[in-house]
């Protein structure tokens, strides 16, 4: 009789052998493997029963083509099911080969099918036919649009007005392509949305580690601390959420700070609902307790904090011992008691003490994360991330298994072909004004005010899948700017679907959704590095069937075009003869004088810049490009580990010099790297040696990409650029701190997402809209009773500093008393007389009387007739309120982050109010801008070296070094 265990060993060996070949041992989705997927060997011809033919058993044959979701920035892997009979995409499911998402998706991934079949999507290039914003459009050819745009850009370049070309991007959803293009154009016009998103927290991380994003190893953590709604709604939420749950399954304790009872809070072992803006006080109290009780990793702190630099610069002690530093540390943080944190946060001391005890048990397995939330809600929000990281830095839980990694070590952006050697020569002061020299990213949301202050002009303005009128605070000021042709010469909205900003464009150019465009992505989602590939799936499907596709428009709906080909074509039309020196970067290497194709661009990257991919492809007998088109993703590395502890190899040490801070400089050139250049820029020593590492206990180690090479507990940058009092992790009272509010004001939280929506990008998905289509005001029963709101559904008026909005109340105990909340999602609109999206959008009347603006809904949601019969089944009419219009700009004077929390007055709606009404006085918004501007410490007054910004700090499309110099004061500012 066969021995069962022997048989089991044989079966296991057979499985291992098959999987080692990259194949799937078990059959596809079945009862046995509930999370399994169609085996990749059969992706080319996958058979399923046609659900619409039920109860008849009709087989459908599919070609499964991978791509990458283009909704949120998680960029999860998708598999497009291409019907082999019709060559149309029938559905999207998860790509099991994607290392980040591992085949799992949230609702937004499969909903891509709604977006590509949206009956109202923009299919052809449009040009305005009347006044800007009037709503009259005519269809034009791509050639006409390209020639017009290219001619303007060429003229700007010939006249050395490069900074008048601006590219304003929302979530980029790609790595490297566009920044390379802007570098090739030598245009300092990269304008990201990041300062209305994550800059606050990112600045906090940047000043600790030199890298600006956290990558927690949740799956292996012992304790997880979250300051955001990661499960369902947070950043990278799907890849993170699944690993948080894995961590919990492994016994990790989950601590969540969220004033609301969010999805994440419901999963917490310890849910803390602090008063908004007090989060840093909690982390400081935990840190203080760990310091006073000596529950920290002394050896890690001694080796890796820049404590010597701090002791010398701040305490004036040149040769202080570590023990002396510890004494100073205890004294410095002793004020942050649990009593202090309890007073600030409104939480009980015992709860805070218990949580501190849990954190202290994590050892090096403490995974923490802050993205938006408190980091982007509050004045000084960047200190939330900085004080949170203090806990990791005390425990040595950085880049350890179960700890928190910096993004750059868990991300891989490969080097592209024809890397531009040129940089912008002129500084764009609209984006990087001197008042905000330490702003992590562009001061994009201040653009209407800065344009006015500087009397600036932007000749060609691209809004690329971005909607500042709706997304940014103070949207009416944006409309005022966009409709002023003396400010914006030509506005091109690149968007797959209508949005509030596109109404005020000169050209609306249809761009592709997830299955209609090429992009390369890589995100820090676990301790590993991967690349994901987005591709026009019908192009790939047809090419597999033997067709030759030379232009993605041949397969996309209407004349929808992908951006890669668009930018190549536009660049060639800007510089048709190469005389401007920019065409060269988009010329074929294989066929000089011809345009580079997307196949060549990505093929070169996959051949030359992705370690391991050529070998993996060769094992399958295909090219690296074919590999990526077939599987959609590739893991470059896993278990990257503690890079800072790596010894610098002897080959990199030549004529070495070690300075007094232990920083090691070498004459050896940098070894070639397959990664795209980026990151911080550390100056060489006086004799031109580059910095290669730091000396720690006699060893030369790689260290951190900070000026000191260590973790910067104390930031010389902050100290020298005007903020010495905030140079260590400390507490900043928020603008919505109780001390800053009137008696009748409450803080309002606006930074949270609705789980199935993603800002304005997903609004044309009927499935998602059916699940979530409105944004009521969360209000606690005690507050509702106090302000006279009787029941859920009653209309309330919320008064901000510059206006008010009207919406329905949702009376719930899921929010802290004394605080209200309203998701920034929803409230989408189109002006009367405009074409546009009908799903999830109301039609409104815009009424301007001088600086006073009113928005009044004329028609809300509801059923409508279209080519999709489902649109007649829309049963909801409430599509929410556009509250961001009523938010004044609140730029943090240091990080540059817009501080989203609002101080509001809440009361019952007044006579004549209706759901969705908005009123704003832009004169008041201007006054608020000026009030916050007074908090800044300008480079003109505080720059320690005559530059606009610290050279070492991160910056997209970094200009030439000379452009960093402040203008001589007697000369007018460069604009």
């Amino acid at each position: 009789m066969t021995d069962l265990n022997e048989l089991n060993r044989r079966v296991s060996a057979a499985k291992a052998e098959v999987e080692a070949r990259g194949e799937t041992f078990y059959p596809g989705a079945s009862r046995v493997h509930l999370a399994s997927f169609p085996p990749k060997e059969r992706w080319n011809d996958w058979v399923e029963l046609d659900s619409k033919s039920w109860p008849n058993r009709v087989e459908k044959r599919y070609m499964l083509v991978p791509t990458t979701c283009f909704n949120c920035e998680s960029a999860c892997g998708l598999l497009a099911y291409v019907d082999r009979d019709t060559l149309q995409v029938r559905k999207f499911e998860g790509n099991p080969e994607h290392p980040g998402s591992r085949g799992r998706n949230c609702a937004k991934g499969p909903a891509t099918i709604n977006q590509i079949t949206d009956p109202d999507r923009i299919l052809y290039p449009l040009k305005r036919a009347g006044a800007r914003g009037q709503g009259k459009w005519e269809r034009v050819s791509w050639d006409e649009a390209l020639d017009d745009i290219a001619a303007r850009i060429r003229r700007a370049m010939e006249e050395e007005r490069h900074e008048q070309v601006m590219y304003h991007v929302g979530r980029p959803g790609e790595d490297g392509y566009t920044t390379r293009m802007l570098a090739a154009w030598a245009v300092d016009g990269h304008n990201s949305h990041t300062n209305v998103c994550s800059s606050g927290a990112r600045a906090g991380y940047h000043w600790w580690m030199g890298m600006d994003r956290p990558s927690p190893d949740f799956a292996n953590a012992k304790v997880i601390v979250l300051v955001s709604s990661h499960l369902e709604t947070g950043h990278y939420f799907n890849p993170h959420a699944q690993r948080i749950i894995e961590g919990k399954k492994g016994g990790a304790k989950l601590i969540v700070l969220d004033t609301r009872l969010s999805n994440t809070a419901t999963h917490a072992d310890h849910w803390l609902s602090p008063y908004p803006g007090s989060e840093a006080s909690i982390f400081l109290a935990i840190a203080n307790w760990m310091i006073q009780e000596r529950k920290y990793d002394r050896e890690f702190v001694r080796r890796w904090w820049n404590w010597q630099e701090y002791m010398e610069a701040v305490q004036g002690e040149q040769s202080a011992t570590f023990e002396r530093f510890e004494q100073v540390l205890r004294e410095t943080y002793s004020e942050y008691t649990f009593e202090f944190a309890a007073r600030e946060s409104g939480l009980e001391e015992d709860v805070l003490r218990e949580v501190a005890g849990v954190v202290s048990t994590a050892g090096t397995r403490l995974a923490t994360h802050n993205w938006r939330s408190a980091g982007s809600g509050n004045l000084g929000g960047w200190q939330v991330a900085r004080t949170l990281t203090l806990l990791n830095a005390l425990l040595g839980a950085l880049a350890t298994e179960g700890g928190t990694f910096p993004n750059s070590w868990n991300k891989f952006t490969p080097k592209p072909p024809r890397l531009p050697h040129q940089r912008p020569r002129r500084w764009n002061e609209v984006l990087w004004p001197r008042e905000y020299p330490l702003a992590l990213m562009e001061m994009s949301f201040l653009m209407p005010h800065l344009m006015r202050d500087q009397d600036a002009y932007v000749d060609v303005y691209f809004t690329r899948v971005y909607n500042p009128v709706w997304t940014n605070p103070d949207g009416f000021s944006w409309i005022e700017m966009l409709t002023d042709e003396s400010k914006i010469g030509l506005h091109i909205a690149q968007t797959p679907t209508w949005n509030e900003t596109a109404y005020f464009a000169d050209y609306v150019l249809p761009m592709g959704h997830a299955s209609e465009r090429h992009d390369l992505t890589s995100y820090e989602q676990y301790d590993g590095q991967f690349i994901g590939f987005r591709q026009p799936v019908l192009r790939t499907a047809r090419e597999r069937l033997g067709e030759q596709i030379t232009d993605t428009r041949q397969v996309n709906p209407g004349e929808v075009w992908e951006e890669n080909e668009f930018w190549i074509e536009l660049t060639w039309r800007i510089d048709p003869d190469g005389s401007l020196g920019i065409r060269q970067f988009f010329e074929s290497r294989e066929h000089p004088g011809e345009k580079m194709t997307v196949d060549e661009y990505y093929g070169w990257i996959f051949d030359n810049s992705v370690p391991g991919l050529p070998e993996a492809a060769a094992a399958q007998g295909i090219s690296p490009l074919e590999y990526m088109r077939r599987f959609g993703a590739f893991e470059v590395a896993s278990k990257v580990g503690q890079v800072y502890e790596q010894a610098v190899s002897d080959s990199e040490l030549e004529d070495v010099r070690v300075d007094e801070m232990g920083r090691v400089f070498t004459r050896a050139a940098s070894p070639p790297s397959p990664k795209a250049p980026g990151g911080t820029k550390i100056d060489p020593d006086e004799e031109g040696r580059r910095r290669v590492g730091v000396r720690v206990d006699g060893e030369i180690l790689r260290g951190w990409p900070t000026p000191s090479g260590k973790l910067e507990f104390w930031s010389r940058t902050l100290a020298e650029w005007g903020w010495p009092e905030l140079a260590i992790p400390t507490y900043v009272k928020s603008h919505v701190h109780r001390d800053n509010l009137e008696d009748d004001q409450m803080p309002m939280i606006t930074t949270f997402r609705v789980p199935v929506q993603i800002h304005t990008r997903s609004a044309n998905s009927k499935w998602l809209d059916e699940i979530a289509h409105t944004n009521p005001l969360w209000i606690h029963p005690t507050d509702a009773a106090r302000v006279g709101v009787e029941k859920t559904g009653d209309l309330v008026r919320v008064q901000t500093d510059i206006g008010y909005f009207v919406l329905k109340a949702w009376i719930t105990e899921g929010i802290r008393p004394g605080v209200v909340a309203c998701s920034h999602h929803m409230g989408r609109w189109k002006p009367e007389g405009q074409e546009g999206q009908r799903m999830g959008m109301m039609t409104v009347a815009l009424d301007q009387q001088g600086s006073e603006w009113g928005l009044t809904p004329k028609q809300r949601g509801g059923p409508f007739s279209s080519s999709d019969p489902d649109t007649l089944r829309v049963w909801w009419t409430d599509v929410g309120v556009h509250q961001n219009l009523t938010h004044a700009v609140h730029p943090d004077p240091i990080s540059g982050q817009h501080c989203w929390h609002q101080a509001v007055r809440v009361g019952p709606a007044q006579l004549g109010d209706s759901q969705g009404d908005v009123f704003v006085d832009t004169r008041e918004s201007r006054a608020m801008y000026e009030k916050w501007l007074e908090m800044t410490r300008s480079a003109d007054d505080y720059s320690p070296d005559g530059t606009r910004r610290p050279w070492w700090m991160l910056r997209p499309v970094r200009p030439e070094r000379d452009a960093y110099k402040l203008p001589v004061k007697t000369e007018p500012a460069t604009v």
């Binding site: 066969t2 069962l4 048989l7 016994g251």
Partner: protein, 319 residues
């Protein structure tokens, strides 16, 4: 999940490996699914020889022996219903999302394999997993699967007979590992008995005969064909109940006697399993005995269950 008590294992457990052959268990679970291109590779790894055809699979799992717990432990003798809901609840009690068919043989085996694989060394976790496995084995596998596999071995061609034999051995080892349950699961204790056609009508009686939890007998189309051949009756093609009614209408006494003999045969099979599987097998053996006695009594009386249609209220199965 109920707390089941176990009698001490009756056999020497020294030959029981510390963990079951989990991957083999998963392979056998996969092989109960319709054949796919990967099937041959999996079958070969398990040493089961050439993979069966889709037709062979269909004959065993679609026409003879339905691989769903609900068919065999549900009072209706049909797929779904309360029995499936109970299984779905069990998945939820374990903190898992129940699959579309939580009572399918493959799903149950895969779940059992997972409960072994996911066990961590900490004592508390290990105890929870052990309790979960015992509950799954005793409450949801033991009441039907051992007998089901025995019937597959009797009826199926070579491949599936070998498959059933391997799986039976693994399950037997698992039963030995945990020892026989000495208390019935609640759903068996509450399972209604076989309706008496003289009181409840013919429809209810026929439905009860085909529900193993009521009759103790697992009847297949092949069994009905065998009775028809033995008695030289015409076998009507159709669902089992239709075919059985047709046989009874042709020669009620002979069919009742043949059915009684089958009940005694299967009852003996249950009895042979009681040492290993405990209370569940005893329960089925008793049910089969009661069924045989009733059928023999009806035959002796010359009662024709199909002749006297009962009232609708009395005919409701499971009422």
């Amino acid at each position: 999940m109920s707390q089941l008590s176990h009698a001490a294992p009756t056999e020497d457990r020294s030959d029981i490996p510390p963990t079951p052959p989990v991957e083999l268990l998963r392979v056998l679970a996969v092989l109960a699914e319709p054949p796919s291109p990967e099937y041959a590779r999996v079958a070969e790894a398990a040493g089961l020889g050439p993979a069966p055809t889709a037709s062979e699979h269909g004959d065993v799992f679609l026409f003879q022996l339905y691989p769903y717990a609900s068919v065999h432990v549900g009072a209706e003798g049909m797929m779904g219903g309360e029995a499936r809901d109970r299984l779905a609840g069990f998945w939820r009690a374990l903190g898992r999302t129940p699959p579309a068919e939580p009572d399918h043989l493959s799903a149950l085996l895969a779940l059992y394999a997972s409960l072994w694989e996911e066990e961590r060394p900490e004592a508390a976790h290990s105890a929870i997993m052990e309790q979960s496995r015992a509950a799954l084995l005793d409450e949801h596998i033991a009441p039907w699967l051992p007998h089901y596999l025995a019937r597959v071995q009797e009826l199926a061609p070579g491949f599936y007979s070998g498959w059933a034999e391997l799986l039976s051995r693994i399950l037997a080892a698992e039963a030995d590992r945990s020892g026989p349950a000495d208390r019935l699961p609640l759903h068996l204790r509450e399972a209604p008995g076989l309706p008496d056609p003289r009181r409840d009508g013919g429809d209810a009686f026929l439905a009860g005969l085909l529900a193993m939890v009521r009759s103790g007998v697992m009847i297949t189309r092949a069994d009905l064909a065998s009775i028809a051949a033995t008695l030289d009756l015409g076998l009507r093609a159709g669902e089992r109940r239709y075919a059985l009614a047709s046989l009874l209408s042709q020669e009620p006494v002979g069919v009742l006697r043949a059915f009684a003999a089958e009940a005694r045969r299967q009852g003996a099979m249950h009895e042979l399993r009681t040492d290993r599987w405990g209370a569940g097998s005893e329960f089925l053996a008793a049910r089969a005995r009661t069924t045989a006695e009733l059928l023999e009594q009806l035959a002796a009386e010359g009662f024709d269950p199909c002749e006297d249609p009962p009232s609708k209220s009395a005919a409701r199965v499971g009422s």
